[in-house]
């Protein structure tokens, strides 16, 4: 509780400073170089914020003359493409937009340049580092060094259908048990035809694996020995705790929740859940904040204006630790136009342009944007995001070079438990064995 209060005070102070900074006008013409005739290339995920980047980027062209091309790829394809480009010293792309959990892998492979020099030499009101939420700043840093610029930081929230909850007359769940009961209320209930209670990320691999990491703290556990919330050195002892009692209970909870999901929920990942919620088939869903826009868009959703957000539930006796994720922008170490790339990031990451990006649908990563009245009015769940960032922990998912493989390995075993191919205990014992072997083989564990 003291930590949360402290974080809140720091956030408040940072917000005041940041607001003052934002208030100052920046002469971008003198801050940025003339890049006429050049074209900046960046690759990013095809998440909804790609449209927000496209809606904002022309401002940079107006100031510098440089065109900005944005190429979108799926999650796995982007990871693959960025690392392959790096392994081939490819200079085709100037900026890599990457998931914060890949930062260890790309930093240690020498794929990205550090942002420290740029931040140190730039005007404080441009980078306004303290205006980023602590977990956003953490996502962009690796091994104590600021490597990238946070642009689209996500927090996971629980979304619930207000119309259904009013009709059922039940409170919004805060604990796992309450969540189960609420999900049960809406499932196979003639009063709510065609509606199911809840759907989780159960698909084999990254989906189920990430879900385990996102929920384990709220289930009272932790993923490995030294990864305590607020730890100065969370990677000191990476002995996994995948078969701890809290972990096995959590996997049992995932399995129990499939009873309240639509047919085939065992193979659901992010898209299937978001589509089912937008189609009005689900009473509740937990999801990254960026997808709330889709659910609130009447042209794509049948539940626009009919849902609200709340913090993720927690196990009885534990407290909610909001999962943090999202995207940071980094300069390709092998890029040929680093000056243009840094100028773009200076401009795009600045508080004023960040607000434009957020108003165009991008996820807020700055405290100033999260508390901006215009943003809050347009995206009502921003208030919950502000609350979520207070109790988020940046290392909720591993971010070292083996993160992708480790998450996938855990996800395979979690999925086996969910479909009944193994008991939760047996599945997580196997995950413990596999991950320990992986970490030892790659020198991350003695």
């Amino acid at each position: 509780m003291r930590n949360i209060t402290l974080l809140g005070s720091i956030s408040g102070a940072a917000l005041l400073l940041a607001s003052a900074a934002v208030a100052q006008d920046i002469d971008w013409k003198s801050e940025l170089g003339d890049h006429s005739g050049k074209t900046l290339h960046m690759m990013t995920i095809t998440d909804p914020f790609i449209d927000s980047i496209k809606a904002t980027k022309d401002g940079f062209t107006d100031i510098t003359g440089a065109k900005v091309e944005v190429d979108g790829y799926g999650y796995d394809a982007l990871h693959e493409k960025e690392l392959l480009a790096c392994s081939q010293n490819d200079s085709s792309y100037d900026i890599f937009i990457m998931d914060g959990i890949w930062i260890g892998e790309l930093s240690e492979a020498g794929c990205i340049d550090s942002a420290e020099k740029q931040i140190a030499e730039g005007k404080p009101e441009i980078f306004a580092w303290d205006d980023y939420t602590p977990s956003a700043a953490g996502q962009a840093s690796w091994d104590g060094e600021r490597m990238c610029i946070p642009i689209g930081i996500y927090y996971e929230l629980m979304y619930y259908r207000t119309d259904l909850f009013e009709k059922a007359g039940i409170k919004v769940p805060e604990t796992f048990e309450e969540l189960k009961q609420a999900a049960k209320t809406f499932t196979d209930n003639p009063e709510f035809p065609g509606v199911y209670g809840y759907a989780m990320n159960n698909k084999r691999g990254a989906a189920a694996g990430q879900q385990w990491f996102e929920w384990i703290y709220s289930a009272g556990g932790k993923p490995w020995v030294s990864n305590d919330i607020g730890s100065k050195d969370p990677y000191a002892d990476q002995t996994p705790l995948l078969n701890s009692k809290e972990s096995v209970d959590l996997v049992q909870f995932f399995k129990d929740m499939t009873a309240y999901g639509p047919p085939g929920v065992e193979s659901f990942a992010w898209d299937e859940r978001a589509n089912a919620f937008a189609a009005g088939k689900l009473a509740m869903i937990n999801d990254w904040s960026v997808r709330a826009q889709i659910a609130n868009d009447p042209s794509q959703s049948q539940v626009a204006g009919k849902f609200k957000a709340a913090l993720m539930p927690h196990k009885e006796g534990a407290k909610t630790v909001s999962p943090v994720g999202g995207w940071v922008a980094c300069v390709n170490a092998h890029g040929a136009q680093k000056d243009v790339a840094w100028d773009f990031l200076k401009w795009f990451g600045s508080p004023a342009v960040h607000k434009q990006f957020v108003m165009a649908g991008g996820p807020p990563s700055r405290l100033s944007a999260m508390q901006d009245p215009d943003v809050v009015a347009k995206y009502p769940w921003t208030e919950q995001l502000f609350e979520a960032q207070k109790n988020a922990w940046v290392e909720v998912r591993p971010r070292h070079p083996l993160a992708f493989q480790m998450i996938d390995t855990v996800g395979a075993d979690v999925n086996k438990a969910i479909i009944g191919e193994a008991t939760p205990q047996a599945a997580m014992d196997n995950a413990q064995e596999q991950v320990t072997k992986l970490l030892k083989q790659n020198g991350l564990l003695q």
């Binding site: 084999r204 047919p263 085939g264 193979s267 089912a276 070079p401 083996l402 992708f404």
Partner: protein, 312 residues
């Protein structure tokens, strides 16, 4: 002494002129063969040996310079890895089941097309039947991901409209494997049908007439006339389809990612994950080498069988 003799002999042989060398058979043969050899060496042989080299090292694709020689450790890790074992078993099951279905359905459809060959619109119908084969497998995977979507897909909608319970197509191991099999059969039966139809058209009509005159029933014609006539071409189809199935990747990648559990994991997806998702180039290369060895063994065996049939 030997060099003296050889020197004497070479001095006695008239040296061919440069013009004669360029117009001679040996030069022309070399001119045709050398580019192919260079192409093979650069794009096939060198990558193969490099893969073997990587497979003997613990190395990540992003840190090739930090490779550590580990001998056959990657191969040992693979053969003792239950996921790899499942991938191997699933691939073999998928190959056997889908090729069997493709031959049976392909034969029935080919017979139907042969029997309506005299009709004017039969060519159009045949072209329509070949269309699945022309679609990119990745697109096929995406289409079926929508068709079998448990909530919004048309498959469950149709089941529901006739009063049947919805199926978790990609959520349970058995339906997931069955769905993958169904997609594979749907796409590649036309290929087998095309081969079998070519075989059936090659049977002279007087042989059918002779068989009927001799009082042969349909199953006699099938057993003693049609199957012997098409078995060579069917075996060729089997070889091609085995190679295809060993490379089978796109549909699984798009629909199930090898799940639920390990139920639809196939060899190529395993190798792809190791190489391009986890960037474990050593393990991934070892998996690729094993796939190649399996392909070579199966293909060699099948080609020998094909030759024996042709000789018969």
């Amino acid at each position: 002494m030997a060099s003296l003799v050889s020197g004497t002999t070479s001095d006695m042989t008239p040296r061919p002129s440069r013009r004669a060398f360029y117009t001679g058979d040996r030069f022309q043969a070399a001119a045709f063969i050398v580019p192919s050899c260079i192409f093979l060496a650069l794009l096939t042989i060198w990558p193969f040996f490099y893969s073997v080299y990587l497979s003997l090292h613990r190395v990540r694709l992003t840190a090739l310079k930090r490779a550590v020689f580990v001998g056959f450790e990657n191969y040992w890790n693979l053969v003792t890895d239950t996921l790899f074992q499942h991938a191997l078993l699933n691939t073999l099951m998928l190959a056997t089941a889908s090729i069997a279905c493709e031959i049976i359905i392909g034969f029935v459809v080919a017979k139907a097309f042969v029997s309506i060959a005299h009709l004017r619109w039969s060519n159009w119908l045949r072209s329509f039947f070949l269309m699945p084969m022309m679609v990119t497998p990745l697109i096929v995977g995406m289409i079926f991901a929508y068709v079998f979507n448990p909530v919004l897909g048309i498959a469950n909608y149709l089941l529901n409209s006739v009063g049947l319970a919805p199926v978790s197509w990609f959520g349970d191991p058995f339906p997931a494997m069955l769905s993958i099999l169904l997609i594979n059969v749907w796409q590649w039966t036309p290929f087998m049908m095309l081969l079998i139809m070519a075989g059936l058209f090659s049977i002279r009509s007087d042989l059918y007439e002779a068989a009927r005159v001799d009082g042969a029933k349909w199953h006699h014609i099938l057993r003693f006339l049609e199957i012997p006539s098409i078995r060579g071409i069917v075996l060729l189809g089997i070889i091609l389809r085995i190679i295809d199935t060993l490379r089978f990747f796109d549909v699984v990648y798009v629909t199930t990612r090898g799940g639920p559990g390990d139920s639809t994991m196939v060899l190529t997806l395993y190798a792809y994950q190791q190489n391009f998702q986890f960037f474990q180039a050593g393990t991934g290369s070892a998996a690729a080498v094993i796939i190649l060895v399996i392909s070579i063994v199966i293909t060699t065996f099948a080609v020998r069988l094909l030759r024996r049939i042709e000789n018969d």
